[in-house]
């Protein structure tokens, strides 16, 4: 079920009515039922995967909780136990908990690996076998269960927190199920933590006109971004990137800008719908973006874009990896070999590279995403290495407080990210590099062609570009009003509020790219 489908709107209306009609103490149970109805309506054949993630996570967390309880009982019954014995028992319990953690990780990651990466792995292996003249393996095509990357990560976050003793004690199976399957964020995030979401997810909510209004308006803005801008620009991006030889040079840059706008509107649009719907239900979901196009560096960008994914990888992969025994051993070795300064950085960079490789792989089973992830990691490491030079230059010329310098850094980051993002839109890594090369080799001729033909050949009319331009300007204005002026729709008088809602609804209905004759574009992040 796409967020932009008619059935979703009907489903949502039914959920709102039901949620605020049932007894408040039953609201989250109602949501749990709604979550599974949502999943069943969207991808009934793959319900088993989300059910398995919930059951295995619950089972492992219960085993850990029982081990903890046994340890506490023993400690209570033996207050005078020797420290050594207590330490020994704790270590034994921790080892057992680790077994349950690893088992849970293996089961869930295996499911993810098989359905998401088996085809890619076999295709890669077949490529290698073909080079040696060997017979190819038979391809296995799995249909990717909806939202598997997201619900798997939420489950794993929960079980890792449970292992670390951070999860709430004695959570019920149904609460865990409601958390993992919470429908607004099920298919493209944000990737929530149990500790963040549970407070409002399980609390009883009286109908709050303000929450409902703010949530609904946020969701409407999401529909606007997705339907009016993102889906309109897809046609041009398809045309521009189908064959880099046909659209080289400046067209590659046009494709990069178009894709930056499209991806932003598509992904933040989906997240706005998710957060808005949740807010209308009284549930607060973590923000996933913080004006990423204002970033002054790649590291800054990744603190502002897909924030919940970034923090997930940081907390559940980067830190454990950096603090693991092998890395600590490596640290000692590199310090000894390269000296304390560089030696300190080498293991961090290795962890960084691994995390970005994993991030690329998480985004999709293709070399494009792996190359994208590795390239991101590489740019971050290089930036980190060059940061002392930048600091000296900035200080020497007093650039830190200059607006134009900040603007330059913002533009530079935008283009750098746009180049990296190109791996996502061209057919393969080779095509992406050919597109890069053409920016420098075929620029003049392509500019002449663009001047002569304009952008009309890309499947969009002038009116479409006007709509996109005006929409982007409105979004920028809206962003400014919200962040700089603290604008909230609830602060408007009744007439202004109503007019704003009606205007946004009408704009979506009239200017949206949807309906018969349009390709139904699912959200880009649904694929992940």
């Amino acid at each position: 079920m796409f967020f932009t489908s008619e059935i979703f709107i009907i489903f949502l209306a039914a959920v709102f009515v039901g949620y605020y009609t049932v007894f408040r103490r039953w609201q989250w149970q109602f949501l749990l039922a709604a979550n599974f109805v949502f999943y069943a309506l969207s991808d009934a054949g793959n319900l088993v995967y989300i059910a398995a993630a919930i059951v295995t996570t619950y089972f492992a967390s219960r085993r850990m909780a029982r081990l903890n309880a046994e340890l506490e009982s023993w400690a209570a019954a033996n207050p005078g136990a020797a420290k050594a014995e207590t330490r020994e028992r704790r270590a034994a319990v921790k080892a057992k908990r680790r077994v349950w953690l690893v088992l849970c990780l293996i089961v869930n990651l295996s499911a993810l690996a098989v359905v998401k990466y088996a085809g890619f792995a076999i295709a890669t292996a077949n490529g290698v076998r073909a080079a040696f003249g060997a017979e190819p393996f038979q391809m296995i095509d799995f249909v990717l269960p909806m939202g598997i990357s997201f619900f798997t990560f939420q489950s794993l976050g929960y079980i890792i927190d449970a292992y670390r003793g951070k999860a709430a004690k004695g959570e019920s199976f149904f609460r865990l199920a409601a958390f993992v399957s919470f429908f607004p964020q099920l298919i493209q995030g944000p990737i929530s933590r149990y500790s963040d979401l549970s407070g409002t997810l399980f609390a009883p909510h009286a109908f709050s006109p303000e929450d409902f209004r703010e949530g609904l308006f946020r969701a409407l803005c999401g529909f606007f971004k997705k339907l009016v801008v993102a889906d309109r620009l897809f046609a041009a991006i398809r045309a521009l990137t189908a064959d880099p030889a046909e659209y080289p040079g400046v067209y590659v840059l046009v494709a990069m800008i178009a894709y930056a706008v499209t991806l932003y509107c598509d992904f933040t649009g989906g997240i706005d719908i998710a957060i808005g719907v949740a807010r209308a239900l009284g549930v607060r979901v973590a923000e996933n973006f913080n004006r990423p196009f204002y970033s002054v560096s790649i590291a800054d960008y990744w603190r502002r874009w897909h924030i919940t994914m970034g923090t997930w990888f940081r907390d559940y992969l980067f830190y454990p990896l950096s603090l693991s025994k092998p890395t600590q051993k490596l640290l000692k070795l590199t310090k000894k070999t390269f000296g304390p300064k560089l030696g300190m950085r080498v293991p961090v960079y290795i962890s960084t590279a691994f995390v970005w490789f994993a991030t690329g792989l998480w985004h999709g089973a293709s070399w494009n995403f792996i190359a994208w992830g590795v390239a991101n990691g590489l740019v971050i490491i290089i930036s980190q290495e060059l940061s002392p030079v930048f600091a000296v230059v900035t200080k020497r010329f007093g650039l830190g407080s200059r607006t134009w310098w900040t603007a330059f850094r913002v533009v530079r980051t935008f283009w750098l990210m746009s180049f990296l993002r190109s791996f996502d839109i061209y057919a393969n890594v080779g095509a992406t590099f050919r597109a890069y090369v053409s920016v420098f080799s075929g620029f003049g001729a392509s500019v002449a062609r663009l001047s002569a033909e304009g952008l009309a050949a890309l499947g969009l009319y002038t009116a479409d570009y006007v709509v996109v331009g005006v929409s982007v300007a409105l979004m920028a204005l809206g962003g400014h009003l919200i962040h700089a002026r603290g604008f909230r729709v609830s602060n408007l008088p009744f007439a202004g509020r109503f007019a704003l809602f009606a205007a946004v609804c009408l704009a979506i209905v009239v200017f949206g790219a949807y309906g018969f004759g349009y390709d139904a574009n699912q959200f880009i992040y649904n694929r992940f």
């Binding site: 008619e6 009319y461 200017f511 309906g515």
Partner: protein
């Protein structure tokens, strides 16, 4: 306080809905030039009720029978709820819709669309259903005949389909914003030009000549609907050379008519008896009859209907006669204009008077 708040909500909602409907009305196609056929279905609602006959079916039906001839020669009142490539489920729901407004003595279904068992095109779905008033029948018809990717909801709110016309609005959209003119005479679309039948193409061989299950299901439904409403169902095949009418289709139609005691008139087989001359009575080499052919068909069918169903001659009813006098006058004027145009230029461009 609460009363004021409720009043504000009602006023704001009414304003919003009004704006929505106003914009929707601007954006939907008016079918007032170019593709006139899209306006045919909607015209029905502006007509006085009480027709003796309602015709339903595809383009053959709105080009084959002249309601004015039926009136002039027999005093029979009729209306054609035909549409381009109207499929049998469209016909069924259009008839069901018509039966909410009137109970004709006879419903005549042009049988050619029995060859289709699946939706054919979104454009033709639109031309046949956009003009229907919003009703359960309309939504059912949209749902049953939807092409992949088509949404029944967009028939209730056509702005969902035509929203992107904002960048291609024409003068028609403003001229006919509030009211639209009639493009037919009781559903009949006049053509007074002539293009004789030249070559008669062979029908290509089909893998299966049986009418499809869905087509048969809707024929049964149509018959049952007529029985429930006390309306006689008559089957008809227009006298057109192409698309090919296979013997196997004819046999199945005859068998069905015989089984249920329906009258079936094949005007293609009876062309000679009806006086149809394929050198002069078609405007597109045999695909459709022109006004001369339509008048002959009406004359032939009228006799059968009067004899078989005992339809009364209403020419003595003053109110009805006055109404039909106006229609006849318009019909004759349009015919004269088209005849003159065709004589002078070899083609016609005036399909509606007042262009």
């Amino acid at each position: 306080m609460i009363v004021r708040r409720i009043a504000a909500w009602i006023a704001a909602s009414a304003l919003s809905v009004g704006a929505f409907l106003a914009i929707q009305n601007l954006l939907v196609p008016k079918y007032m030039s170019g593709i006139y056929e899209g306006a045919l279905i909607g015209e029905y609602y502006a007509e006085p009720r009480g027709h003796d006959i309602v015709f339903i079916g595809d383009c053959e039906v709105y080009e084959t029978v002249s309601p004015v001839t039926l009136w002039e020669e027999y005093g029979i009142t009729s209306y054609i709820r035909g549409g381009p490539q109207q499929l049998i489920w469209h016909s069924y729901y259009l008839l069901k819709d018509a039966l909410k407004y009137e109970k004709p003595r006879v419903a005549v279904f042009n049988i050619l669309s029995m060859q289709y068992d699946e939706p054919q095109s979104e454009a033709y779905n639109r031309l046949n259903l956009d003009g229907m008033r919003l009703s359960p029948e309309k939504l059912e018809a949209a749902s049953v005949g939807a092409m992949p990717g088509e949404s029944a909801l967009s028939y209730a709110f056509p702005i969902l389909r035509f929203h992107d016309r904002w960048s291609e609005l024409t003068d028609d959209d403003f001229t006919y914003y509030a009211s639209r003119r009639h493009v037919s005479v009781n559903g009949y679309v006049m053509r007074a030009d002539i293009k004789p039948v030249g070559r008669i193409p062979e029908g290509r061989k089909l893998a299966d000549y049986s009418f499809g299950d869905k087509a048969m299901e809707y024929l049964d439904k149509m018959r049952e609907l007529c029985e429930e409403n006390g309306v006689e169902l008559m089957l008809m095949k227009a006298p057109t050379i192409w698309p090919h009418w296979y013997d196997q289709w004819e046999e199945q139609t005859l068998a069905y008519a015989e089984k249920y005691g329906l009258i079936y008139v094949n005007l293609l087989a009876d062309a000679e008896k009806a006086g149809i001359d394929f050198a002069t009575d078609t405007y597109d080499a045999g695909l459709h009859t022109n006004v001369y052919g339509a008048e002959k068909c009406a004359s032939y069918l009228g006799q059968i209907m009067r004899d078989s169903y005992g339809l009364p001659d209403r020419r003595g009813e003053p109110e009805t006669a006055a109404l039909w006098a106006g229609k006849t006058d318009y019909y004759n004027k349009l015919k004269s204009v088209q005849e003159k145009e065709f004589a002078e230029t070899g083609k016609i461009s005036t399909l509606v008077l007042g262009e």
